[in-house]
Symmetry: C2
Subunit: 356 residues, 2 copies
Amino acid sequence: MSRYWSQTVRNISPYVPGEQPKDRKYIKLNTNENPYPPSAKAIEAIRDAVNETLRLYPDPSSEELRETIARTFSLKKENVFVGNGSDEVLAFCFPAFFEPAGLPVLFAEITYSFYPVYAALFNTPYRLIPMDDEFNVPVEGYFQENGGILIANPNAPTGKGLPLEGIQKILQRNAGSVVIIDEAYVDFGGHSAAGLIETYPNLLVIRTLSKSHSLAGLRVGYALGGNDLIEGITRVKDSVNSYTVDRMAQAGAREAIKDVACLQETLSKIIQTRERVSAGLMDMGFHVIPSQANFIFVSHAQFPAVDLFQSLREKGILVRYFNKPRIDNYLRVTIGTDEEMDRFLEAIAVICEKRI
Amino acid sequence: MSRYWSQTVRNISPYVPGEQPKDRKYIKLNTNENPYPPSAKAIEAIRDAVNETLRLYPDPSSEELRETIARTFSLKKENVFVGNGSDEVLAFCFPAFFEPAGLPVLFAEITYSFYPVYAALFNTPYRLIPMDDEFNVPVEGYFQENGGILIANPNAPTGKGLPLEGIQKILQRNAGSVVIIDEAYVDFGGHSAAGLIETYPNLLVIRTLSKSHSLAGLRVGYALGGNDLIEGITRVKDSVNSYTVDRMAQAGAREAIKDVACLQETLSKIIQTRERVSAGLMDMGFHVIPSQANFIFVSHAQFPAVDLFQSLREKGILVRYFNKPRIDNYLRVTIGTDEEMDRFLEAIAVICEKRI
């Protein structure tokens, strides 16, 4: 604590990302990174952008990239906002659409743990929507007065998806509120609401290239929505930093998005591995929440999650453990390559004293 | 205006960066970019970082880059914060150190026009300190009750520097306030306050690689200050976006900062050109504010600035014109290469109907 800190900074509890340790080589299954390389065409485009033009500012409004994204979703570039990762895009949405000291923003009891952090920074009141024991959120939970709605679909860290009919009901019952669907993981088997943007002016869909496009290190996320929602986020961006997406990121993201073949190949490998690993863990007595994401959320009645986390760490395998009510006996395990997941399953079998 | 916008977003007037037109090739003297290429070693390091590791998140706390910067200033990495350009670093300082509805933050009547934009977004009250006709700010202007102080040194868009003795007086008289010195242009002839950090716990120095290091397209800025000030900004960053500086930017910035020879060569060329151009303009009857930056702020009694701006634009030369009280008869002209500035001087001479 410092005499120079504002009240806001005294009160916030910043988000803590999954660890990126350097002490030894780990199998990293803790930050939902993609185990496969990004598009070779994207890598080439990024290399081509590394030249003397770096002395010049990037395009502050990422015109070409927004046009590429718009084409992919049959939208206009006025329906697309681009930022430095989807976390930044989400952060900008809070001052853009939610009122400090207004009605509470609604989000699920268990969801991306960055949401309450944004709320604290921007003094946004919020209300948590309760879930059942299988981490389902009844859509009726969102049928109450609110200052906005924020839904990760598929949800994190559970991997559970909400069908589009549910999203539509929520959009219809909340025509006066901005409903943000955070689709960071949607490519791995979820149902995107992007096709609903022209129907619902209150819908904003947020996506990232960090997961499905294997570009966590490039920092590109985007939002899709009606012109006025996009203009609202843009006004916040232009009140923080005119140039959030650098020259390499704009060039690389364009090619990554165009390389649909690379995306499809990566996705199908990860989905197959996820299903195989889920089955293997269930054989060992694990409870595995059905996942539409590139991670699984698992629990075992006999082996406390925190012990499994620690034992795996000692064996050089990092997974994510959240020391939080209701999920403190779960592990979130990112889906790696088949080889990595075989090592993970072997390690789990050894820890559980039950050879496969 | 949209029904979905927050009150904040309705009220703000976002910053408008200098234009980046694509309609034709211009001599770009409007956004204070460096006309010389970045360090070849930096370019090489950026290229080396473009590989399959882009699938992984960057180091969220930019440890190696912070160590490199710390060494340059004989500080510790705990005294360094790194962000996506100095604009982002400045933005994070507002919620970190300034209170909404608290005492006003002080800054000069004419200074970087992003400051009031941040203040509007974060609901920070501010008070403008008046300047004299030559754009000097008396240090006594900062001897009043305040919630923080923000000084661009050298100032923009005037290029005028404040001597270190003045800065020290301000720091001493405001021991309870965070005093931010924005040194975006200091390398071009200003006097850095970085050496005062260990003496004044209320001092925060903010810098960028966009200008002196020719890396506007890479997006790296940083802050130097006491541990607790750095921790305050970090808490805000980690409440917005864990990973603001991508892998290429971290790698490139390290090498750019180490390449002092490249920096010195660039700086000495720009300073020489600035002095020559200033003299040339004075010969043509211009009033030239003495500049410590990579731009000059100039005015002519007979030729309105807005007309000069428009005539230069027609001749393919972009400079910056601010349609604002007190400075609406000035042009801010970035110092380009000698060739570019010769073309600029020729164009000015033609416009003023007086061949050199």
